[in-house]
């Protein structure tokens, strides 16, 4: 059974339909990429799943239970934990204390929570920043802090909202390596990503959103050849040109 099931989720802001009857599933132990151009409704969908926004219609199931309409802290406690695209460090707290807040989630005592926090800091390469106030970090480090903090809650499903945006290519490589390691530890991942190239090599499945509608869903190599997806990303003109090229190739 799927770990996460999104069923016909619609979210409106007034007249604007940000998500229109979106459905997909995330199987346990996999990495699922949620991609789409700017304004496709990826973050909105994320906010619905994590309980930050109520859905206008539709239902969401996690780990065998319905989570539609639950407050976000309860969804987090069930094991579906997210990061934020616009990083939200707890500014006046140190990096260590930020991660410690996450580590306290499952009723862990102080000593155990501190061990968990420390190991998450090591995993994310943050140990050297442990005593720094989180508000003073450079952006790349803040992104890793988002990840470390979510990881410290020992999630079943980790939902990453554009953790790679704004990073240098070396940092992206490091992030991808980190994500692979997280999966190895049995964590399921749902990753929103704007950069298609970053997500394709690591995802088991990709869901494409455009204009609030699910455009396609499937394995990465299938998605990267899907014409609707190419059109959505590159525009109709490029898509036609690409099609023409392919046509020539098949004719030749």
């Amino acid at each position: 059974m799927a770990l996460l099931e999104v069923r016909d989720v619609t979210r409106k802001f007034g007249e604007l339909v940000a998500n229109d009857r979106v459905s997909f599933t995330v199987d346990a132990g996999t990495i699922v990429g949620l991609i789409g151009p700017n304004g496709a409704g990826k973050t909105t969908l994320f906010n619905c799943v994590s309980g930050l926004y109520p859905v206008t219609a539709g239902r969401i199931f996690f780990d065998g239970a319905e989570i539609t309409g639950l407050p976000s802290y309860r969804i987090a406690r069930m094991g579906a934990v997210r990061t934020f695209q616009v990083v939200r460090p707890l500014k006046d707290m140190t990096v260590f204390d930020n991660v410690l807040v996450g580590a306290f989630m499952h009723g862990a005592g102080g000593a155990q929570a501190r061990r968990t926090a420390e190991s998450c800091l090591r995993t994310c390469g943050l140990i050297e920043f442990a005593d720094r106030p989180a508000g003073e970090l450079p952006i790349g480090v803040k992104k890793r802090l988002e990840l470390a903090r979510a990881l410290a809650t020992r999630p079943k499903l980790l939902m990453l909202d554009e953790v790679m945006a704004g990073l240098t290519s070396t940092e992206v490589k490091m992030a991808l390596e980190l994500i692979r390691n997280i999966r190895k530890e049995g964590v399921t991942l749902l990753i929103v990503e704007h950069i298609m190239e970053a997500i394709m090599p690591i995802a088991d499945k990709v869901v494409v959103l455009d204009g609030g509608i699910k455009l396609a869903e499937g394995p990465p190599d299938q998605i990267s050849h899907d014409e609707r997806v190419i059109t959505a990303y590159l525009g109709a003109k490029f898509s036609q040109r690409l099609q023409a090229k392919r046509g020539e190739r098949t004719n030749a």
């Binding site: 939200r88 707890l90 006046d92 306290f104 501190r114």
Partner: protein, 340 residues
């Protein structure tokens, strides 16, 4: 759990408490009744500020309603003694409990408001309670409650001749309230509270029930403010609505904490140690000049401190410590950038 065990900082606090416990042994101090009065007030206001600090500093919810909880605690003790002729102790407990319940009832709707709106709503609450107690006969109305002459001692929490008894009571109060906050600082609840202050949505995304955390902090903060109020009434031997439930009193909770450094353990003590002598001595020295000259000077000094360092006296102390630590490095570099 070694993080929560004694650290060097805690040794500083223990030494400080030991030192304060020895103060009444110095007869030069006990002989000076006004000095004893100032010392007691410093301890009391440090406790009040620390109680406020739980929700206002660590929790980041600026409450101007704490004089209400302070007042409820004061009336709890006052009514036990004056109305029912009992020892103040049962009244203190009931007062604390009532303060916590009222705090939760008030805050639950007010926490739906954020930032400044929360602060404004708590302002209104003070006025409501002030008027209500003014016209409420059962609690003494506008005239308030005047203590009868009863036997002095710990049972009645009352002393007539010397202030030493009150001083030790204030010290116990200080150890209790500062101890509670020190304990919270190192535990999950304290971390959650700070996380809610720094970002409610972020905290919730990490499994923190922010409403429950804020309500619990408010209840604890109010109960301790009530306890301070009970001490206040035992010290003054009378209470009326204007003495305790006023915006003036509410401002003291906020000012002392912010001036000392909100969200830090030492802040409320520093704030009280600077503000209270300032308040009492400016009043003693210039109160006779009329026209509130003492209050003008008092207000002026607050403005100066806040402009110099928004983090309060704690921030000023930290800056000075930093400068001392940096100095050797600067000298090595040979370049002195500072204005000599």
């Amino acid at each position: 759990m070694n993080h929560n065990m004694l650290k060097r900082k805690d040794l500083f606090w223990l030494a400080l408490v030991a030192l304060m416990a020895l103060v009444p042994a110095v007869s030069a101090i006990t002989a000076n009744s006004f000095l004893m009065h100032v010392l007691i007030l410093i301890l009391l206001y440090a406790c009040m500020a620390q109680a406020w600090n739980i929700i206002g500093g660590y929790g980041g919810q600026t409450s101007f309603g704490h004089s209400v909880f302070f007042g409820i605690g004061a009336y709890g003790a006052g009514m036990a003694v004056v109305t029912f002729g009992l020892s103040p102790w049962p009244g203190i407990l009931i007062g604390m409990l009532a303060a916590a319940v009222v705090a939760v009832l008030i805050s639950y709707p007010c926490f739906k408001l954020s930032g400044h709106y929360f602060a404004i709503a708590t302002f209104a609450v003070v006025e409501i309670f002030n008027r209500m107690f003014m016209v409420w006969y059962w609690v003494g109305g506008a005239l308030g409650l005047d203590y009868p002459m009863v036997e002095e001692g710990l049972k009645n929490l009352m002393w007539y001749d010397s202030k030493t008894g009150y001083y030790y009571c204030a010290l116990v109060l200080f150890v209790l309230i500062f101890g509670i906050v020190r304990f919270l600082e190192g535990h999950r609840f304290g971390y959650y509270l700070r996380a809610v202050r720094e970002g409610q949505e972020t905290a919730e995304s990490l499994g923190v029930n922010s409403t429950a955390v804020k309500l619990a902090a408010m209840a604890l903060s109010a109960a301790l403010a009530g306890l301070c109020g009970a001490f206040f009434v035992q010290y003054n031997l009378r209470v009326d609505p204007g003495m305790v439930m006023s915006l003036d009193m509410s401002m003291k909770f906020v000012l002392v904490t912010i001036l000392g450094g909100a969200g830090t353990l030492v802040g409320p003590l520093l704030g009280a140690a600077v503000l209270i002598p300032l308040q009492e001595y400016t009043r003693a020295l210039w109160g006779g000049l009329g026209g509130g000259v003492d209050l003008i000077i008092f207000g002026f000094l607050i403005i100066v401190i806040i402009i110099r360092q928004p983090a309060g006296i704690t921030g000023i102390v930290r800056d000075i410590a930093k400068r001392f630590r940096r100095r050797p490095a600067d000298e090595k570099g040979g370049a002195s950038l500072g204005t000599a």
